[in-house]
Amino acid sequence: MQPGRPLRAARLYLTGVFWRHRWGKGLVLLAPPLLAFALVYLASLAALFVSSFWTVNPFTTEIEHHWTLDNFRTIFESSAYRTIALRTIGIAAAVTVTDAILAFPLGYFMARLARPRTRAFLFVAVLLPLWSSYLIRVYIWRLILDQNGVLNWTLRQLGLGPLHLAYSNWAVWIVFSYVWLPFMVLPVYGALERIPESLLEASRDLGARGFETFRRIVLPLALPGVVAGSIFTFSLTLGDYVTPMLAGGSSSQFIGNVVYSSVGISNNVPFAAAFATIPLAVMAVYLLIARKLGAFEAM
């Protein structure tokens, strides 16, 4: 008897099973990632949600497993936490709009006007910052915006007064817009590149001028790309706490900073979990709107 015989038989049997039950193949392929998804991702989300209804004993800092809405009450009743949540969402929205405005012309140029060489160069230019550490890029912006930094030095040479941008929400907005720009440029570029030339020609043939073609053909077809990019810029800003900590001023706390200090300083995981459900809820609403606008086809 050859050693390979039983193995071969088993293989043949399995092939037969998968042929008879087509879904079996899909199940085998998907089981490991699905399991990981359920355990690592959904289970931790569930744990987060459940623990947000617990409290912490202030003396022993041990978690008490009573169901209570106290954490959410604190968040909604305190003006400080409301301000922090609104600031986070507001700056995330501002960063998204800024990046969309910056990325659209760049993406348009790359997709429709640039020669292959220029396009390759621009691609590298957009992606290159991603190869360096995020922290380095934040610190470099600090050097640029400092009281005696590059920006104010340049302004002085031009005879203009110094700007007080360092350590403020302006600085946070600028740094975020810079750091997340590539995540907007790429989907916008992709959406613009996919618009068939024939549509633009047809628009011209039917008498539409440049601007009208842009408004009625290019913009609607590229919008899903912009929305797809905005998912990245918006959610990344919403969840960040490093940039506000390093570049922010005396009132630059984000939701993430409160989560960080609630866990790290007062060991109050339930409160951190409760506060962390806010960006979760905001993102859920955002994704629903994005789906309506067709962003998922553009990713």
Partner: protein, 382 residues
């Protein structure tokens, strides 16, 4: 049936008792009376710079205890590390005063017999049994190093030389002030108020009732528009002063030294109201697996030479006064610079960090605990 079950439980209990590693430190009434042979390992949670090779290597050679150090970034991280995994992962922690009481009341650390540390009697009197590591006469560790929280200012921009913490609360230097991003900062405001508004009756800046606490938080709220940035890392404050974004701030001697070495025109002072300060303690985990090595380590880091080496490396003051002449030998003038062997009066002017708790002496139970401090600080920053 019942009897069998009980017997099983009994056997299991005996087996469990036998399985507990026989701690080598011979102890009666809980406290060890002599140090046994080292277990070969020692796991530490420490501030960065507290386990430098220059004093760790000789310790390892001498005792055979291999030192594994985990650096913590904040007092709160230290507490978390000492609690995780049932608390037996680390043997010791170099806790600052704002963490040590939390560890004691949380039963995360165990009493220490200071008689086994010969150099303990050479400690500055104020650091032998300080309230941040000694509760009801029971020592929970040995003092290590200390330093004041100073008022740092730019000598070119801030004139005349500040003599009161009031400069941090006056609009004269609006937008040029930086203070630490730390709830314990409320104590700095309380310390200032204890002199500026004696009617509040603040005697200890860490023991504040609701009224005193509200007054301190209100002062900080009025201070907020004057603040450029609440600094989280010492390097943040150094950057702020170097780049001219701040000219005045609450600080540690470390920042002053670094900035002066970089030729930035700064100086520091302890204003007339006094200052808060930090004092670190090596504490022994309640579930330490290597207690003998831990005692050997406490003995080693308390010796004058190691104390002096660490003080100079980090820019702080040793607890052991016999370290002062060695400091001067290693770096001339350093003993005076760091107030080594400071007088009782100097110690009195410094209110060392300790964890605010609800029970604040004299049977009073109406003080604001650390959770309240942290919440107030988060809301203050807004």
């Amino acid at each position: 049936m019942m009897r069998i079950r009980r017997a099983h439980v009994l056997i299991a209990a005996v087996a469990a008792a036998l399985c507990v590693p026989a701690a080598g430190v011979s102890s009666s009434s809980g406290l060890p009376t002599k140090i046994g042979k080292g277990e070969g390992q020692l796991n530490l949670v420490a501030w960065e710079g507290y386990t430098q090779p220059q004093w760790v290597k000789p310790f390892e050679r001498k005792t055979g205890c291999r030192v594994h150090a985990k650096y913590a970034g904040s007092s709160d991280e230290m507490v978390t590390l000492m609690r995780q995994g049932g608390g037996s992962q680390y043997d010791m922690v170099s806790a600052s005063g704002d963490a040590s009481l939390r560890l004691i009341y949380g039963h995360d650390v165990q009493p220490v017999n200071v008689k086994l540390i010969p150099d303990w009697k050479n400690f500055a009197p104020a650091l032998k049994s300080p309230p941040h590591n000694t509760v009801d006469g029971v020592h929970y560790g040995v003092s290590l190093q200390w330093g004041p929280n100073t008022l740092l200012y730019n000598t070119k921009k801030v004139k005349p030389k500040p003599t009161s913490w009031s400069v941090l609360y006056s609009p004269k230097y609006k937008g040029k002030i930086t203070v630490p991003d730390n709830p314990i900062q409320i104590a700095d405001a309380a310390l200032y108020l204890s002199k500026a508004q004696p009617s509040l009756g603040i005697t200890d800046p860490y023991e504040l009732n609701q009224k005193q606490f509200d007054a301190a938080v209100n002062l900080l709220r009025r201070q907020k528009p004057l603040i450029k940035k609440y600094w989280a890392l010492a390097s943040d404050e150094i950057d702020l002063f170097k780049n001219g974004d701040a000219v005045l701030g609450a600080s540690w001697p470390y920042q002053t030294n670094t900035l002066q070495a970089d030729k930035v025109p700064v100086a520091d002072t302890i204003p007339r109201e006094g200052a808060t300060g930090w004092a670190d303690t090596w504490m022994l985990s309640a579930h330490a697996k290597h207690p003998n090595c831990a005692y050997l380590w406490m003995r080693w880091v308390s010796t004058p030479k190691v104390q002096a080496q660490q003080a100079i490396y980090f820019g702080e003051t040793p607890a052991n006064v016999k370290a002062c002449p060695i400091m001067d030998k290693l770096s001339p003038g350093s003993a005076a610079k760091y107030h080594c062997g400071a007088s009782e009066a100097y110690f009195k002017s410094i209110k060392f960090w300790k964890t605010p708790v609800a029970a604040c002496g004299n049977g009073r139970n109406d003080c604001m605990d650390y959770t309240k401090w942290q919440q107030a600080w988060t809301q203050l920053k807004g």
